[in-house]
Symmetry: C2
Subunit: 500 residues, 2 copies
């Protein structure tokens, strides 16, 4: 008989849970990309079983003693081993605090809410979604109470997506971000030189879009021997585990930017997944650091690299060769078109500047919902009023207002802020990378994205969750997260483009 | 608290095991059709975990008491409930008789053997496979001993694929089958009017092959809202559960028959899967009856319907319209071409008549291997000698001889006979269907396959494993399985086609 240490037994248990989750990922991906419609009910049964088995394994009471034993052993600070125990403890305590009844009720409520949300959104009728959202908010408040919090109940929910982040620090970041964005947006709105995004809305045959986007994803380092690109209604990236990461997009034959920047975005997520420490698959510290850090990798490639001039110095001649429709377009006009900034109603279609105001709005409203300061019934009015202040636009209906996003229907309160965190981390990481690799733009102009990809893999991806996000940021960039790199980069790009 | 009867608890347990297996099916399908190459190792880990969990659930010692309790309750004869208990008992006893060590050793040996077989086959070098096959035969003999048998150890292995069948009855069937086939094949070989299969080996664009095959699969009743057709190296059918059945094929741009009859074959399997009793998913008696019955459904559509003249009276005009290359071919010549019968070395490429001699050969050799009358080392010589007798051909090398099939490398001794059983059952079922529905050929000529598909669904598919194969055959056809319907149908078709 070989004997296992408590630590190795914990790692084996973590691997089992991760493998079960990765089976679910395959089934989810298949459901979005391949499954015939009639298979939905059976797929639900399969996924429910896998979730039940994973939850049972993850909350096995025997883990408590194993953790106590393992924690009593000496362990090198900052090692993967120490991080594995920290993250195992964190996830176990969190999972055990939530009563199984609440887990079940949330699963049931969100399953119903998802359908109701889709109907309500289609009909632009908030009343259809309201009772479901009321239930979900109540259950999430119960969850926050079960987990416990000191400053704000929202902290307990945020922790699920961004471990270690606090509502208070996010409030500061969002205040600073808005303070920087609002005057910049005003400047851009008043500019006489406006981009013409019409060049993006010409004929772009889908098969060529696909080949062109694949070539860009491959150029930034997405490994197609260990991944693939498919078509779905809602684009996503799913890392199944070592050697298998799938990204998806959707194509508009009369719109270049949607699929192309979507693929760059998902390929950025994909690079992260493909460079996680494969040999440690399943260990709690071998997963991605947080949703904010994950999003930083997608937005870095999509916006900071992919909407930059050096990137297009390489790709624009290839774009022209692939799509005859842009033969008459000059690179400056194209670069302006892909950096068109203007207020709009829908988050997922927003430009990289106004995007953060969409998030700020949701972050404020979620806090108010969770603290009880805002009743679900008053949500549409609160949304519309705040939208008017932030964007200067009247929301025409709830479909283009508070019903637009799926997140609340699956109980994802606390999720939205990670999108903006991603923008901020991305800019701060790229600034650090530029310090270490001063010739990055030259490399981009030659179509060489390996130096940046290698730097990200070494400093961020391969570190998994060895450090929490705030600590990772300090180690990699030498400073705590701030809004300055993001705002600076945005100004540096947009001010000349708008002739300001 | 709701109380469960022992019976309902058993059914819930069976459903869990079936759901785990169905998750594995999705992962297997994905591996064959979608997975990037680099994902293979991780996929192996996922599948191993699911198999381990399913085996643990299926052999839980608590099942013993539940079975005893459930079996003591009164239960209507021939009901699904009675069949569920019979099949649960059968599977549980069988699984518990095989020591876990043997299960593990077989898993390990076959994993290694599969690679060795692929190499040995590519190199036509039996020596590379021999030690692996020796291990596998020894382990399968051990398995047969553990399970127990009275007449022949082969019975214990056969039972895994064809529950209730015996070596003795199969020997009789194969003797009768050969006695009928050998003179018929001699007659055909001497015929002056030989089919010209050249018309099948022209330009058949793959996209058109796909659409044409899909239209035929849909015409015979395969429901594409609950299924799909994809491309793989080795064609197969996988039913994931209610509402989701996937079939695959491979295309040869210079060969019509491979993909087309392959799709009809797999769609025949698919109809069975799509018409199993969905509400009972997971119950032991809600699965397919046996591999022989499953194969009867594929071969019935592929050979008895799909190579018949009424089928092509409907489809030939559509074939001509779809493939300009057959504009000059007349329907008689085409019908002869798809019914070309001639001895050949490779089983999977064999025509419907000689196919059974390929199976007879394997059935004989497997019995000899399992009884110890034939040493693995002597297998190639024994194969080649017997092949000469049966086919009158010299096997040029082991790739075209005893190394051609994958089955032994996965330990599938006892599997081959089910292919011929499928041919026999198919003919006997179709004869019974024709008695009940005398106008079948007229319906076929009008492209209407619903009467036959409905009859099969009602009499066979929806019955699942409520009856064992032999009993099902008697209930559906009024007689025990015999070779006469198969030989009669073959003669009735081929004799006029060969101008005899």
């Amino acid at each position: 008989m070989k004997t296992q240490t408590p630590y190795t037994e914990l790692m084996n248990r973590a691997r089992t849970v991760a493998l079960l989750h990765s089976c679910s990922s395959v089934l989810h991906w298949d459901q979005q990309t391949q499954m015939p419609k009639a298979g939905a009910a059976h797929r639900g049964e399969q996924l429910a079983l896998l979730a039940r088995l994973a939850h049972k394994e993850a909350t096995d009471p025997k883990i408590r003693d194993l953790l106590i034993e393992a924690e009593s052993e000496p362990c090198e600070a900052d090692s993967f081993e120490a991080a594995n125990l920290r993250e195992f403890r964190h996830a176990f305590d969190r999972a055990r605090k939530i009563p199984p009844r609440l887990v079940e009720e949330l699963a049931r409520a969100t399953a119903l809410a998802n359908e109701a949300w889709a109907e309500a959104r289609a009909a632009a009728d908030f009343a259809k979604f309201r009772p479901h959202l009321e239930t979900i908010v109540a259950l999430k408040c119960e969850e926050a109470a079960a987990i416990g919090w000191s400053a704000h109940p929202y902290d307990a929910l945020l922790d699920e997506y961004e471990p270690g982040a606090s509502t208070a620090e996010l409030r500061t970041l969002f205040a600073e971000l808005s303070a920087g964005l609002v005057p910049l947006l005003q400047q851009l709105a008043d500019a006489k030189q406006r981009p013409d995004r019409g060049v993006l809305e010409r004929d772009y045959p889908i098969d060529r879009q696909r080949l062109f986007a694949e070539s860009a994803a491959a150029a930034i380092g997405f490994d197609f021997r260990a991944g693939r690109l498919d078509t779905t209604t809602h684009p996503f990236c799913s890392g199944f585990g070592p050697g298998d990461c799938r990204i998806t997009t959707r194509y508009n034959p009369r719109g270049f930017h949607e699929a192309f920047f979507g693929v760059l975005h998902e390929a950025g997520h994909g690079l992260y997944e493909q460079n996680l420490p494969a040999a440690r698959f399943g260990e709690p510290a071998a997963q991605s650091c947080s949703l904010g850090i994950h999003e930083s990798q997608s937005r870095l490639w999509e916006n900071l690299v992919g909407r930059g001039r050096p990137f297009w110095d390489h790709f624009f001649p290839r774009l022209r060769q692939t799509f005859p429709t842009v033969a008459d377009v000059d690179p400056d006009a194209f670069h302006r078109a892909i950096n068109d900034v203007r207020p709009s109603f829908i988050r997922v279609e927003a430009d990289e500047a106004t995007y953060n105001l969409h998030i700020a709005l949701r972050f404020e409203l979620e806090q108010a919902l969770v603290s009880g300061d805002l009743a679900v019934a008053d949500l549409p009015a609160a949304w519309n009023a705040r939208f008017r202040t932030l964007f200067g636009l009247e929301v025409p209906n709830d479909r283009e207002g508070c019903l637009q996003d799926i997140h609340w229907s699956f109980g994802g309160l606390g999720y939205f802020p990670t999108y903006s965190l991603g923008n901020l981390y991305a800019a701060q990481f790229l600034r650090a990378a530029r310090r270490a690799l001063p010739d990055l733009d030259d490399a981009f102009r030659h179509g060489d994205f390996r130096p940046l990809a290698g730097w990200l893999a070494a400093n961020i991806h391969s570190q998994g969750r060895r450090f929490r996000a705030a600590r990772l940021c300090e180690r990699v960039t030498g400073a705590p997260l701030s809004v300055a790199p993001f705002l600076d980069a945005l100004r540096a790009k947009l001010v000349p483009l708008y002739g300001l």
